[in-house]
Assembly symmetry: C2
Amino acid sequence: MSKPSPLEFWFEFGSNYSYLSVMRIESIAASAGLTVVWRPFLLGPIFSNNGWSTSPFVLQKAKGDYVWRDMERQCRKYRLAWTKPSQFPRRAILPHRVALFGAAQPWIGEYCRRTMEMNFVQDRDIESVEAVSEILQGMGLDAAATIAQACSDANKVLLRSQTEQAVARGIFGAPTFFIGDEMFWGNDRLEEAIEAGIAGSG
Amino acid sequence: MSKPSPLEFWFEFGSNYSYLSVMRIESIAASAGLTVVWRPFLLGPIFSNNGWSTSPFVLQKAKGDYVWRDMERQCRKYRLAWTKPSQFPRRAILPHRVALFGAAQPWIGEYCRRTMEMNFVQDRDIESVEAVSEILQGMGLDAAATIAQACSDANKVLLRSQTEQAVARGIFGAPTFFIGDEMFWGNDRLEEAIEAGIAGSG
C-alpha cells in the first residue's frame, strides 16, 4: 500500500498562471489529503538562461495577446477575480523572500493568495516594503520583524539557491509541480499532479 | 436561440500536441454536434518569425525533456499509442498539401489520423511520396492522382496562403482551435473550444 506523496509547488508571484494555482492549490490538496510544499522561486534567471530579457508573453506578441484572453476565460472557469495587470511581469523579490522565509508557516497559503490578488486583482505594485507590510499586517503578523528576517543574508542566499535548484530540477516555467521526481508543468496539470500524489510515490 | 458554430482546427503533422487533437477531435466534435473545419498549416514560418530555426521543444532543452514525458502521460490518459519520434519535428510539406487538397473530403479525418500514427506511433518518415501513397492506398484512394492534384501550383499557393492566414489570425503554435473569432491554443483547450461551439457564436 503506497502512501500519499507531498505536492511540491514551485511558483512565482509575477507569473499569471501561477496566480491560478496559488488560489486553487490549498483547498484541492486538502480535499485530496495531500500536503503542499511551497517552493517560491524567481523566473528571471530561467528566462536569462534562454537568452530572454523578460517573459515570453512579452517577447512573443501573438502569444502574449492570447494569454490575456485565456486568463479571462480561466478565471471565469475557476470563479476567480481577474484584472489584467498594467505592468507585467511585476518584480517581486521581497515578496518571494518573505514567502521563502514563511514557507513552512501556517500563514503561507493566505500570504501567497493575498500577494497574488494584489498583483492580478487589485493591479498594484507588490515589490515595495509598504505593499508587503500591508499584506502581513492584514493577516495580523508583525510586518517589520517578518520582513527583517526575510531580508537576512541567509534567507537571501536561500532564495538564490532555491532558484538554482529549480534549474537543476529541470524547471523551465511556472507553476510547476512535483510528486517525487515526476514533474508537471502549468496550472492545467495541477489535477494530474494531485492524482499522482494520491496514487503515492511507492 | 444560438446555433452551434463550426470548430476550426489548425494543426501541423510535425507537432506532437497536434497528434493528440487529430486523434480525438472528430469523435468529440460529432458527439457535440459540431462540424470540424480542417485547417492544415506549416509551423516553420511561424517559428522563423520568432527567430527560431526549429521547434522550441528542440531549442529549449529543459522544456523538450519535459514534453516527451508529458506526451507519455497524455497518451496514457487518452488511450492513444505513442512512440517518441526518432526525428523531431518531421518535415511534412507533401502530407500538408494532400490534407489541404482533401480538407473538405469525407476521408480527411482518417487521412490525418493515419499520417499522425505513421509519425508518432510507427516512428516513420511521413514526407516522402512513398509514405503518403501508402496511406492513401490503404484508404482505397487513387494515390497518384491525389498527390498530383495536391502538388498543383494552385494548391501549393493555397498552403502558403493558409500559413499566412494563420499568422494573420494570431496563431503562434499548434494545435489551435477557433469558434468564430475566439481562439483556443493547445490540445488542453479542445474541450473548452467544444463547449464554446455548443454555446454557439450568436
